[in-house]
């Protein structure tokens, strides 16, 4: 079974807050599921690389009108901002002092 610390480490990597009461359940569920999908180890991986199933999917660049870089969606996109001030999206300072 994966440990309590491993669950907390995964949660941190995944940027998820996990309640204390949830950890034991997650240990059990994640372990059961990993044990099941672990049967994949029996599959042999061929050395030969498969031919990629791709073709050119790039679309043509089409310049947008001056002052309309958002294709008329600017207001709608702004309306979705969780917190805004003077038409700006307010976010927390990214670079913070080390303690």
């Amino acid at each position: 079974m994966i440990s309590r610390e491993e669950v907390l480490q995964l949660a941190e990597l995944a940027r998820l807050k996990v309640a204390d009461a949830e950890v034991a359940g997650l240990q059990k569920d994640i372990s059961n599921i990993l044990e099941y999908v672990g049967q994949i180890s029996q599959v042999s991986v061929e050395k030969e690389k498969a031919t990629p199933f791709n073709y050119n999917v790039m679309r043509e660049d089409v310049p947008r009108a001056v002052g309309d870089t958002m294709g008329g969606k600017e207001e709608a996109l702004r309306a979705a901002f969780p917190k805004k001030e003077n038409n700006y999206n307010i976010v927390r300072k990214i670079i913070q002092k080390d303690e």
Partner: protein, 467 residues
């Protein structure tokens, strides 16, 4: 005229064209049924307030000379498909107040055809599940037995079609999410060839599996909706040209996996095995040859499916961070803002899969899980391609059992195991359809047909034999 909501799309389209009924009549009939049943079934998360206006516009377009078979047809849309100016939330708290800023390509196509949108339907949060029990807004109940699930993840769409609260619906299928609820609710559900339908405007779950597909009362209706929404789209780089895959010759041969030995007693789970055998032999009577085919890579398919699912889910859901849209909670610092918004915004199953995806993609585990899973996937695809050289379709049950009781599968792994028949088509990209095959213990069950890439027509042809 009463019971207009019980018509199929094709029937209603003919009556509209003949001037016997109007789009407003149809919309009213569906709204009346929604009023009656949605409170109990919880199929719709929202019923749009402008349905009658949309219907009136469709009638006006017809009066002005337009004539698409979907003009004025009322449809339901899964909550992960964007309609500009309307809420779309993938049944998640993290997107509770999100308003779509553009139309999904399928919606653009349906608007141009003149379809009427009734509302958005319930689903498992972010299309992760198989019973609509993972919705943040309550489970959708099965119209045939309200103590049971409607299936998932497109449970709301399938229940709405089965309960005649719409004439047809759109769902999305990542590992069976259109076919599973279609089977549980006794309707038709099509997962098109990967890339056949544009996914622009579909909230992504597992990008290498996701496909939008129709849920309808008849195969003709599924065909009509599919033909309307299909096509290459510059907004979805994975969408394909109709002629990408070579045309298949009709062989009149039905394949079934050798692993599903039709004499094996142990297969008779809940009587679905019996229905499968009956269906197989009814096709034989109609002149089809039956052929047992070897697909050894079906064995690790479910494990491979879930590894890839976790990996892509953890990647796709990383965009929900509460910065530009969606739920945004304040913590003690920047990291805390993210962790709190995501921790409280995502439901338990989404959080579990994000963590599992983080695990299988971690350095040191990547080759053992993701690398092996993609190898198994490539091998299965080869085996399917080989099989379709000698058969038109492969027949299996859609689900191993009829709909289960609400709350019956509380252990996540036991729910995953129910996806065993549906996930192969998502791994390989083949088109697959679930067709109603009668009832087992009074509950509907579906039979699944899978065809070669690009050969949806084989599904419609063989499927119509079963109707």
């Amino acid at each position: 005229m009463s019971d207009l909501n019980k018509l199929s799309i094709t029937e209603a389209g003919k009556k509209l064209a003949a001037g016997e009924i109007t789009a407003v009549d149809l919309a009213r009939a569906c709204l009346a049924e929604i009023e009656k049943r949605n409170k109990d079934l919880n199929a719709y998360l929202e019923v749009f307030t402008d349905v009658l206006e949309q219907a009136k516009k469709a009638d006006e377009r017809r009066a002005a000379g337009e004539s698409h078979p979907l003009l004025g047809i009322p449809l339901a849309v899964k909550d992960n498909i964007l309609i500009e100016g309307r809420r779309a939330g993938a049944a998640s708290k993290i997107l509770e107040n999100y308003v779509a800023t553009y139309d999904a390509t399928v919606i653009t196509k349906l608007k141009s055809a003149g379809a009427v949108f009734l509302g958005r339907t319930n689903m498992d949060e972010f299309a992760l599940g198989g019973s609509t029990e993972n919705s943040a807004f309550g489970v959708t109940k099965n119209p045939h037995d309200e103590s049971r699930v409607a299936g998932g993840t497109s449970g709301g769409s399938a229940a709405a079609v089965a309960a005649h609260m719409c004439l047809g619906a759109l769902g999305s299928d990542t590992g069976g999410s259109v076919r599973n609820p279609a089977s549980f609710c006794g309707v038709v559900g099509l997962k098109p060839t990967y890339g056949a339908v544009s996914r622009s405007g579909l909230i992504a779950a597992v990008s290498s599996f996701d496909q939008i597909g129709p849920i309808t009362k008849t195969i003709e209706d599924a065909e009509l909706l599919f033909n309307t929404i299909r096509g290459r789209d510059t907004l979805d780089s994975t969408s394909i040209d109709e002629n990408l895959y070579p045309k298949q010759n009709v062989k009149k041969v039905i394949g079934f996996p050798a692993e599903m030995n039709i004499d094996r007693e142990s297969f008779d789970i809940g009587g679905v095995g019996q229905k499968f055998k009956e269906t197989l032999f009814s096709l034989k009577e109609k002149g089809y040859q039956l052929k047992s085919i070897d697909l050894p890579s079906l064995k690790p398919a479910l494990a491979a499916y879930y590894i890839i699912n976790f990996a892509e889910v953890s990647t796709n859901l990383s965009r929900f961070d509460g910065v530009r849209y969606g739920l945004s909670l304040k913590g003690e610092n920047l990291f805390d803002d993210y962790a709190k918004s995501r921790g409280e915004g995502f439901g338990p199953e989404s959080r579990r899969r994000i963590m599992l995806g983080t695990y299988v993609l971690s350095a040191g585990y990547y080759d053992a899980y993701y690398g092996k899973a993609t190898a198994a996937r490539a091998q299965l695809r080869k085996e399917f391609e080989e099989a379709f050289k000698s058969v038109d379709v492969i027949l299996t049950p859609t689900m191993p059992t009829p709909a289960w009781l609400i709350g019956e599968k509380s252990d996540p792994l036991s729910a995953y195991l129910a996806d065993t028949f549906t996930v192969p088509a998502n791994l390989t990209g083949n088109p697959a359809i679930s067709v109603p095959a009668g009832t087992v213990d009074g509950l509907p069950v579906g039979i699944q047909l899978t065809a070669a890439h690009g050969d949806e027509s084989a599904l419609f042809t063989a499927g119509k034999e079963l109707q």
